[in-house]
Symmetry: C3
Subunit: 153 residues, 3 copies
């Protein structure tokens, strides 16, 4: 008898957890919003802050966009870094693994050369797997005029 | 005599207030800037902060855009909320009336489902008149690639 | 002998400084990023903060974009100011020379008239060489829908 009670209790637990999870999560059938009917999408992300929270949020945001079921396998992204954002590319900081994970998904990692000159930063202080653009602002503008979206988290 | 003096004084007061108001306000004839010659306009607003000032400014900005004489009756807007911005949709917060005023003007209210999962927030904690998108970042990107403008206040 | 030693020392110094400068700077041949093959580019910059650092960064960003070798002589920019950003246009503040330098390069300086009304600011408190738009948000939206890029530093 005790066994049956235990079993019933466990089943009730499982059912209630299931119900809780279902109520908690948003069911994909409830999703609304834009329909992605194009073959490919392009976006430039702007990072100009040395705030650790913003740096991490920006990298997570790019990953979320790449993993969005509507965009998966169809999105080309570029991270354009200028001003204080250069922190994300410094060897002495701890963002290497997240950056490499993004690069493995095709994300272009671009540093503003103006920022290096203005802040007297040597490119040797930065990861060697990044690329450089004359100005981050110019890059953002040209990309948009080529049809890329812009996100500044 | 005293009556006439009072009357003159009151008139002078009114005239000077009128002059002051006129000098103070920008006369519509002084407006420059873009000419809106399209039939319809579309914009997505990004909100990813839980800062009360930014939340209120974002909602006010949308309202100002909807009321801009150049856009009035021609603008479709969507508020895309992700990250900390989810605060605006929480039942325990006090933004319900402003949100409903925006919705009454056709503004789409969209919450990022990723944020709920990452922050362990149940959709029951949020107003029931909002809608959900798989990721806020994906939504912003797709909308822009469909020709919508983006504003991040 | 001492003379020769000094000369050798000075030469070694110069060479090492040269090498250091070369290593430090990003060589233009190392630039990657977007190619600017259009005849003209247009961008609207959004400023809605009274933070001195953000105000200065925004003006420097515009200048950097105008000076980007890819965009030089081909970029039309507009600075749209709303909310707290109105600080940049106040006569009592110290941004006049930078603003005039931007204006000399063709940058349109546009203040949101809504902000003046909401904050009870007289246009007489602002520099007389700026222009006004009914709403900064409307301006940003219309410009984007006319094909301008947007940057919010």
């Amino acid at each position: 008898m005790k066994k049956i009670t235990s079993l019933l209790f466990a089943t009730a637990m499982l059912l209630s957890i299931g119900a809780w999870a279902q109520e908690k999560a948003v069911n994909p059938s409830e999703f609304h919003g834009a329909v992605a009917d194009k073959k490919s999408y392009k976006v430039v992300y702007q990072l100009n802050s040395d705030d650790d929270k913003i740096i991490k949020a920006t990298m997570k945001n790019i990953m979320n966009a790449l993993e969005d079921p509507r965009l998966k396998g169809k999105l080309q992204a570029e991270l354009v870094v200028h001003g204080g954002g250069v922190a994300v590319f410094k060897k002495t900081n701890s963002y290497e693994s997240q950056l490499k994970a993004l690069q493995a998904k095709g994300v272009i990692l671009a540093e503003c050369a103006n920022t290096l000159r203005e802040r007297n930063i040597s490119k040797d202080e930065l990861f060697d797997f990044i690329s450089f653009v004359p100005s981050g602002n110019g890059e953002i503008i040209i990309r948009q005029q080529q049809g890329w979206a812009i996100v500044h988290p």
